[in-house]
């Protein structure tokens, strides 16, 4: 149990190359409580800005691949909330920024409490949907 608490407290203590760390500060103003992870061929930072959780991915050379923000359902644009809400109750929402492209990953549940994940573009049009 002590090991569990120790690991919970410590989190992930990895540090990527300086140019990748600098890229985070270049792209985000005042990121806080940053945790870095090394993935297959890129680096991932999970951090806070304001009260929101962010996840940003960087290539080895420091170029940013994309970033995601965890959003409460009420923070979704009206068009997106309506599109997702028509399918069921929104249980989780993430906005995805990839270059100029913005999309939304929504998890909703139907009246039978079955969960689905869907990707919705800025126009409110669904592209992918599958059960979870």
């Amino acid at each position: 149990m002590k090991n569990f608490f120790h690991r919970l407290l410590r989190g992930n203590s990895f540090a990527p190359p300086v140019k990748v760390q600098n890229a985070l500060y270049k792209n985000f103003r005042e990121p806080l409580s940053i945790e870095w992870f090394s993935r297959e061929n890129h680096f991932e930072a999970i951090f806070y800005m304001g009260k929101r959780e962010y996840l940003a991915r960087f290539q080895q050379d420091g170029s940013m691949m994309d970033y995601k923000i965890n959003l409460p359902a009420e923070a979704l644009p009206e068009k997106i909330r309506r599109s997702a809400g028509s399918k069921g109750e929104i249980m989780n929402a993430v906005v995805i920024h990839e270059g100029e492209k913005v999309s939304y990953e929504i998890i909703y549940r139907n009246e039978n409490l079955e969960r689905f994940i869907t990707i919705i573009n800025q126009e409110g049009i669904q592209s992918i949907e599958r059960p979870l």
């Binding site: 569990f4 690991r7 407290l9 409580s33 965890n70 929104i90 990953e105 409490l113």
Partner: protein, 190 residues
Amino acid sequence: MGKKIYPELPDEEVISRILMDHQTELFEILYLRYHHKVLDKCYSLLKNRNQALELTEDILSKVYEKLSTFGKRASFSSWLYAITYNQCIDYLREKKSLHYPEWNRKNEIPEIIYHPEEDLQDINYENLSIVLDMIHPEEKAMLMMKYHDDLSMKEVAAALRISPDAAKMRLKRARTRVFYLYKKKFLENK
């Protein structure tokens, strides 16, 4: 003639003998080996011994039925614990109508602790246990899956039925909430 006992057989060998040689009675080894661990996890989330016992039996029955789907990608224990947490969370969502988004809305984290190891020095583990029981069971489950049972984020996400990236961000929130509550309850006004 007494029953043969195989106390030293590794989990994967037991499973192999059950599936290949149809020695189904060997499932008892896994049952006895893991019953109390599964029960502990169920109880830590459900907080009701009878319900935890019942769910433990359901989980072990389900594991027996699904044994042929154990892909050996992870250890048997990881696979078992992933199923355990998934069943607990489904149970809580359905029977106890626990609604995480609503609870999260009502329990915003007012302060982000940036350096928990510095801000929460001399942390008392007994107090940390108390704080873990103050957070939503889904958040507690995530922390246990990741930091106690070392499940992958893919397994954590599957147990909660969210995407891996959503799980990573939610895990961040769960940790942050624990640090905030610990500081508020045990360190402020000290």
